[in-house]
């Protein structure tokens, strides 16, 4: 049987033994990447049995699992004995390192990186270089720096990262909020899954409103009806769009009012035609742009007829109100 490479472990030498799966304590905090076993693993163990032993510390009253949580879970469900490799008593740090080494084939995505760093950071923040090295990650890389920023957030946010509701780059924005502001923001991110840019925009605008108006996040979100949007029956996408638009309007009140006014007038002017009317340059100039698409001569004729008609629309005055 192949025995995995082990670090330089002091005596006694690793020993293999069999015991009941239920007997093994599989609750260690170093099992930071634990997840439900895959159907493939379940089938494999059913068909061929356990091919690789789990790693345990058997120095205490019952074996403590160091690595092999998924195998243990399957064997426990099948009520079978488990083949254990006893590596003896280990420090928490070393248990974590052994777990990391046993799972070195796993893809280390952002949330896994954060889970691993969370464990080791709590033990000895000064030794994180060893962890980055074990993960094959440059500690100066953007991913590493963002993950370290993320650790400043309360642990409850880690789950949102794992669920894909937020991405690692949001760490920068989130870390600019106080703990009570983060608590206020939490439901808006635990309820919906945000794109990276969507989340960053919302966080930036809320923070800027807070600084500008000297308000807490709770006051900002209350003023824009955040709770009502949260309680709404809208689809997640529509709810997020509604919330983002409300925050943007509060952050840019004049600009959003101009956009709304323009949009109303533009819709009225090009109504029932194929023309589209837009403004350019974020109102820095008074120019508007009319565009259409035609595929043949008759569509072209229709577009010209429509253009002539819409040229005398009374709403143009609304649109050119800002014109100098």
């Amino acid at each position: 049987m192949n025995v995995p490479d082990l670090p330089n472990i002091s005596v006694p030498a690793p020993q293999l033994f069999l015991c009941s799966a239920q007997e093994v304590d599989g609750q260690g905090e170093w099992l930071f990447w634990s997840k439900a076993p895959s159907p493939i693993l379940e089938q494999s163990i059913k068909d061929r049995g356990q091919l690789v032993p789990v790693v345990v510390d058997a120095s205490g009253s019952r074996p403590v699992l160091i690595a092999g949580a998924a195998r243990l879970q399957v064997l426990s469900a099948l009520n079978r004995d488990v083949l254990c490799l006893d590596v003896g008593a280990q420090s928490l740090w070393d248990k974590g390192c052994m777990y990391l080494a046993s799972n070195s084939q796993e893809i280390v995505d952002d949330s896994r990186l954060v889970f691993a760093l969370r464990f080791f950071h709590a033990l000895d923040a000064g030794r994180l270089g060893e962890v980055f090295s074990a993960l094959g990650l440059d500690p100066r890389s953007r991913q590493a720096r963002l993950a370290l920023s993320w650790l400043k957030l309360p642990r409850v946010w880690d789950e949102l990262l794992a669920m894909g509701h937020l991405s690692l780059p949001c760490a920068v924005g989130l870390c600019s909020f106080d703990p009570d502001d983060l608590q206020t923001l939490f439901p808006f991110f635990s309820t919906w899954s945000w794109s990276r840019s969507g989340a960053n925009n919302v966080l930036t605008w809320i923070k800027e409103i807070m600084i500008r108006d000297r308000k807490k996040a709770a006051a900002v979100l209350e003023a824009l009806g955040g709770q009502e949007i949260l309680d709404t029956q809208l689809s997640p996408k529509d709810a997020m769009t509604t919330l983002s638009a409300a925050i943007w309007s509060m952050r840019f009140p004049h600009w959003s009012a101009m956009e709304e006014k323009f949009s109303t007038a533009a819709k009225a002017i090009v109504n029932k035609t194929k023309w589209q009317l837009s403004h350019k340059d974020q109102f820095e100039t008074g120019f508007v742009e009319l565009t259409t698409r035609v595929a043949n001569g008759s569509e072209l004729q229709q577009a010209i007829t429509d253009l002539v008609a819409l040229g005398s629309h009374p709403m143009w005055d609304e649109l050119f109100e800002e014109k100098d």
Binding site: I211, R212, F252, W255, M258, F283, E284, T285, G286, D324
Partner: protein, 364 residues
């Protein structure tokens, strides 16, 4: 030894390039800052300012061009003024200042090879004896802030006396009139001060800048001595209570100056690149005006939403016109649309801003 103004008392070191260590300017500085360590850099050495949190005065052998056009900006109307480059950076601490993004250190650089400067200026001015030059030194530094140490403006006005086709603007936020007695013809020099709302001066111009009253009092002294002065409302900042603030400053201007004392007055809205915004957030966390409604202008810089700029400009222009100023008013880096809507004219209507300001500078 003379007591230095407070804004120069933060200088902790003087560094000088070996090639200019014996220059007139370096000797003058040495005499005035004899109490500070004097460090000479050999020709192959560079000043490593690192993360120094105290001002370092660096007397440098400058090898670039001394006379150059203001970089201006694309898509907007620029005034076309020329810079006499005498140094870089400033010991004042104005939150909105672009120099903190440009230089990112606390090194006050002074070009000490003045002979090279005089040579280049002489060549430029002598090559075109019939051509007028409107020049200034206040682009990359405050024109007068280092004057007590370097006497640079004093040297410059003395030098320019031989070139009557040159008009020099000295733009500042401090009061130093020690250069005045070297001016032969006051029409050749335009002392200029930065104006803003009292709240902005108090909260956003940290450091030992002069108060508005001190600046205007100095301007009045200059006007009484036969100079015409320039005033610059730049950057105009959108903040709660801006109307009262700018109205107060404008009222103050007319307590000290008559319209005919003012050669020209510029108006410029706060605009910035992303780098500056980051500097302000880090260096001046209490400055909230950066969270105004800024859009990306045609030149890529962040600018206040146009109707808000126009609202501010119209307010200031109305008040300035009531005081008797009109022809003196111009915008720094604005579009024709803004010119038209606020002043009712565009630079094209009067032959271009460059020519117009040149005429105003040389108006007798």
């Amino acid at each position: 030894m003379r007591t230095l103004p407070a804004y120069l008392q933060g200088i902790s070191r003087v560094v000088v390039d070996a090639t200019v260590a014996n220059s007139v300017l370096a000797q003058r500085v040495r005499e005035r800052l004899g109490n500070l360590p004097w460090e000479v850099l050999a020709e192959d050495q560079f000043l490593a300012s690192g993360l120094a949190r105290e001002d370092i005065l660096y007397l440098k052998n400058y090898k670039g061009r001394f006379l150059r056009f203001c970089p201006g900006t694309s898509h907007y109307q620029c005034c076309g003024y020329q810079i006499i480059h005498i140094g870089e950076n400033c010991p004042l601490r104005c939150s909105y200042c672009i120099l903190q993004a440009y230089f990112q250190d606390r090194v006050l650089k002074v070009w000490a090879n003045q002979d090279d400067l005089w040579r280049e200026l002489d060549q430029a001015f002598s090559a075109h004896p019939g051509r007028r030059f409107r020049v200034g030194t206040g682009e990359f530094t405050d024109s007068l802030v280092l004057e007590p140490l370097t006497g640079y403006s004093r040297d410059l006005v003395e030098f320019l006396a031989n070139y009557p086709q040159v008009c020099l603007e000295l733009k500042s936020k401090v009061v130093d009139l020690s250069w005045m007695d070297k001016v032969k013809d006051p029409r050749q020099v335009l002392p200029a001060w930065s104006m803003n709302a009292p709240f902005i001066v108090e909260h956003e111009e940290e450091g030992q800048r002069a108060t508005l009253e001190e600046r205007l009092d100095a301007a009045k002294t200059c006007a009484q001595a036969g100079f015409r002065v320039c005033l610059h409302f730049d950057p105009i900042i959108y903040f709660p209570g801006w109307q009262e603030g700018y109205a107060q400053t404008i009222a103050l201007i007319f307590e000290y100056l008559r319209p005919q004392d003012i050669a020209y007055l510029s108006l410029g809205s706060f605009r910035h690149m992303p780098d500056l915004r980051r500097c302000i957030q880090e260096n001046f966390p209490d400055s909230t005006y950066i969270y105004g409604e800024f859009i990306t202008g045609l030149d890529g810089k962040q600018r206040l939403l146009r109707p808000l700029r126009v609202e501010q400009f119209q307010f200031l222009v109305t008040a300035l016109r009531q005081g008797g100023l009109d022809k003196q008013l111009y915008f720094c880096m604005e579009s024709d649309e803004v010119w038209r809507s606020v002043l009712g004219r565009t630079p094209k209507d009067f032959g271009g801003l460059y020519r117009y300001l040149m005429d105003r500078a040389f108006e007798k």
